[in-house]
């Protein structure tokens, strides 16, 4: 290894050398520190302060204490938003992810050429983005002319004029169906990667010992993919609680009787429709708290069930 110090024009004991060795690391760290302080630390501290204020531009700024939090926590619309978001998150975890895993297992069992093609096909909806998918599905859910209603009518002879997006009870199912098309393939990629890393010796040993497909899945595959599964569950939950663009594009707003109102949608409505940035900041902190709590619980539960999380 080359010793750079020997090339130095001044001795190690000199003040210039000591200054240089102390300053240089900071010099190289400076861009990162400046950017972090400007775009993360300062906004973070500002957002904390903002949650306790009512503002109207830089000129008007009033401290309101806990009033923003008090209002949000007692607001029935916030309760609706939390309920809707939680239902969506539960559907993501208990409907969408099992489907992703099922598809991944099917693909994992297939031939490699077919596997690659289907992987691309199933993943591709994720490439187009939530706004595009929202607009596309708004057309598919149209009464009378929409593909869904045509399909349902062809099967059952009923439902041609079903108003998916303007009937409160049907809004969440429509949203879940749309998000499944968007995310099932995306999460499948994680599961597929995990399945490809399962030790085949263990699988073969289990088969030799007479394990059936279900026992093989429960006792070999599931424990092997558990770290990835926990990661996907946590990621999916966080993503679900941050949901905004998809319902906003699909419903052109938040749906009848706020049936498509999510927590971020509620934040947007408060902060950017009504201009109450202080209450918006308070909602943001409450959302952060909810996500943090749920993520910690999920990780702890996974740990308690054994294995790394």
């Amino acid at each position: 290894m080359r010793n750079n110090t020997s090339d130095m024009p001044y001795p190690e004991s000199s003040t210039l050398y000591r200054l240089k060795t102390r300053l240089v690391p900071w010099l190289f760290l400076a861009p990162f520190l400046v950017l972090t302080c400007t775009f993360f630390v300062y906004p973070f501290l500002n957002a904390v302060a903002l949650a306790f204020r009512q503002t109207n531009g830089p000129a008007s700024n009033v401290f309101v204490g806990w009033d923003n939090f008090r209002f949000v926590l007692t607001d029935p619309d916030f309760h609706t938003a939390v309920k809707n978001t939680t239902v969506y998150a539960l559907a993501s975890v208990f409907v969408q992810l099992p489907l992703s895993l099922g598809l991944a297992m099917l693909l994992n069992a297939g031939r490699s050429r077919v596997k690659n093609l289907f992987r691309l096909v199933l993943f591709s909806p994720h490439l187009v983005g939530q706004i595009f998918v929202g607009i596309l599905f708004a057309v598919l859910f149209m009464p009378r002319y929409g593909m869904f209603n045509r399909f349902i009518q062809a099967l059952t002879g009923w439902g041609l004029e079903q108003r998916w997006l303007s009937t409160p009870a049907l809004v969440m199912p429509a949203l879940i169906i749309t998000s499944m098309w968007l995310y099932v393939g995306f999460n499948m990629i994680y599961f597929l990667a995990a399945l490809q890393n399962v030790d085949q010796n263990l699988v073969e040993a289990a088969r030799i010992d007479g394990a059936g497909p279900w026992a093989e899945f429960v006792h070999i595959i599931l424990p092997a993919i558990k770290p990835v599964a926990v990661f996907v569950v946590v990621l999916s939950t966080i993503g679900s609680y941050q949901l905004f663009e998809l319902p906003y594009a699909l419903l052109q707003g938040f749906g009848p009787k706020n049936a498509g109102l999510t927590i971020v949608g509620y934040l947007y409505r408060t902060a950017f429709d009504s201009g109450d940035l202080g209450t918006g900041a308070a909602i943001g902190w409450l959302l952060a708290l909810i996500i943090m709590t749920i993520s910690i619980v999920q990780i702890r539960v996974a740990k308690a069930m054994g294995g790394e999380a």
């Binding site: 750079n4 090339d7 240089v24 190289f28 861009p31 009512q54 503002t55 109207n56 531009g57 830089p58 000129a59 008007s60 009033v62 309101v64 009033d67 209002f71 029935p76 619309d77 057309v139 149209m142 009464p143 009378r144 002319y145 929409g146 041609l160 004029e161 108003r163 303007s166 409160p168 707003g253 938040f254 009848p256 009787k257 706020n258 409505r269 950017f272 429709d273 009504s274 201009g275 109450d276 940035l277 209450t279």
Partner: protein, 456 residues
């Protein structure tokens, strides 16, 4: 020559210097161009319409005006953020109906737009403009934008089918009469259990309620910014709406927008469609197949002899306080909105009725349009324009619309379970509950509250 800290830091430093130099060079070039006025617009057809007028204005005044087209959502969010933070804003900007409340939610002196009230009165313009249109752009009696349009609402109908069915539209003078005829013609023609002909295209979620309520004289807010939709008249409109959209007496289909609407119109699934002036141009451009088959009629009234129109949408032109040459901006605003010679051609290109009444007698407004069965589209809308209702701005407009829809849908639930028994009382109580919610939210606004309390 070797760099003392290795290759990676050298590469980083090189990239930083090169990109810094490029940025500095291009920024220098950008800042060299400084127009006298920057005018931001969200509607592409407005840009086309203004180009010639602006070029003429530039020649007349020896100035340079930079017109920038920005999508409406981007313009709204950028302008909101820039005005909040004191970042650079355009000199003139056209904003969309419903967004003004956001900019006027604080003390009047904090509004980022120039107060145009005195200029309008001093120059005798105020009385020449449809007065109700100032409601969209005012706060606490002060006007912060010039109204671009009136947007009166009529009904557009499939004239060929309506005549075939023997309906005389001149007899459809009230909504009750309209509904009665609607029940006669709403039919399942092929016996598959689904009607194949409806009387009216109407949003079943209550999306058209604000427009219908305005026609009835009920705004979501009053001139002082107070929540105003929990009145018995609103309950009556909701009851009517429910009867037409639900149950055995249903006469409406929700065609929606875009392809769905086009297909519905071409198929003749609905006979009548709500049609503000701007929509007539959309129909002309998008549904060529219906050339000569459509016609317009005033909205049926809520009571015999009452108002035959409403209003739907709007655009306003603001001059920002940051504008360095406000007199020049005012001169351009007047040239764009109040130059009678320009307004005729602009109407022809857009079918939008300007609020400047002097223009309505121009030949372009009297012209018969073959697409609309040779009706004089301009004259028809202009005749209704003076009776368009005021539609007051508020920062809580979007919330109020949501809550109105909630009251409506709760009334729908009640109707589906119990019919009309006790429905009116229930609707009134729901309207009150929802209006109280909007009041509770708006009363949290300390800036408006302080100003209201300070009033004599």
């Amino acid at each position: 020559m070797s760099f003392p800290y290795g290759k990676a830091p050298l590469a980083l430093l090189t990239v930083a210097i090169v990109t810094g130099a490029i940025l500095a060079a291009t920024r220098g070039r950008q800042s060299a161009y400084e127009p006298d006025l920057v005018f931001m617009i969200f509607a592409p057809n407005h840009v086309e319409a203004y180009e010639e007028v602006v070029a003429e204005f530039e020649r007349e005044h020896g100035v340079d005006v930079d017109i920038q087209l920005v999508s409406s959502r981007a313009l709204t969010s950028r302008l909101q953020a820039a005005l909040m933070t004191g970042a650079p804003v355009p000199d003139l900007v056209e904003i969309l109906n419903g967004t003004m409340g956001y900019y006027t939610r604080g003390p009047l002196q904090d509004v980022g737009f120039v107060d145009l009230t005195d200029r309008l009165h001093d120059e005798g313009l105020y009385d020449r403009i449809v007065e109700s249109r100032f409601s969209l752009w005012s706060s606490r009696g002060r006007v912060f934008a010039l109204p671009h349009d009136v947007h009166p609402v009529m009904l557009c109908y499939r004239r060929d089918l309506v005549e075939e069915l023997g309906i005389d539209v001149s007899t459809l003078t009230t909504w009750d009469e309209f509904a009665r005829v609607g029940r006669e013609i709403t039919t399942d023609l092929d016996g598959d259990g689904n009607p194949d002909r409806y009387m009216l295209d109407l949003n079943h979620g209550g999306g058209m309620l604000p427009t219908l309520l305005l026609q009835r004289g009920v705004g979501l807010f009053d001139a002082d910014g107070n929540v105003a939709f929990d009145v018995p008249e609103a309950a009556d409109v909701i009851m009517w709406h429910i009867r037409q959209t639900r149950g055995p007496g249903r006469i409406t289909f929700e065609a929606g927008w875009g392809q769905g609407l086009t297909k519905t119109m071409i198929d003749g699934l609905c006979l009548f469609y709500f049609c503000p002036d701007w929509r007539t141009k959309q129909f002309e451009m998008d549904i060529a197949a219906l050339d000569g088959k459509l016609a317009l009629m005033p909205l049926p009234a809520w009571e015999a002899g009452a108002r035959r129109t409403s209003t739907w949408g709007g655009t306003g032109l603001c001059i920002t306080k940051a504008c360095r040459n406000q007199e020049l901006a005012w001169a351009l605003a007047k040239k764009l909105y109040f130059d009678k010679d320009e307004l005729g051609a602009r109407f022809k290109a857009s079918n939008i009725i300007p609020p400047f009444q002097d223009a309505w007698n121009l030949p372009e407004f009297q012209e018969q349009r073959p697409f609309f069965s040779n009706q004089p589209v301009g004259a028809l809308f202009a005749a209704l324009a003076p009776s368009t209702p005021p539609d007051y701005a508020s920062p809580y407009l979007s919330l109020a619309r949501t809550k109105l829809s909630e009251a409506f849908l709760n009334a729908v639930d009640r109707f589906e379970k119990h019919g009309e028994d006790g429905l009116r009382e229930y609707t009134i109580s729901e309207l009150k509950r929802c209006a109280d919610y909007v009041r509770r939210v708006s009363e949290r606004n300390v800036f408006l509250r302080e100003e209201m309390e300070a009033r004599p």
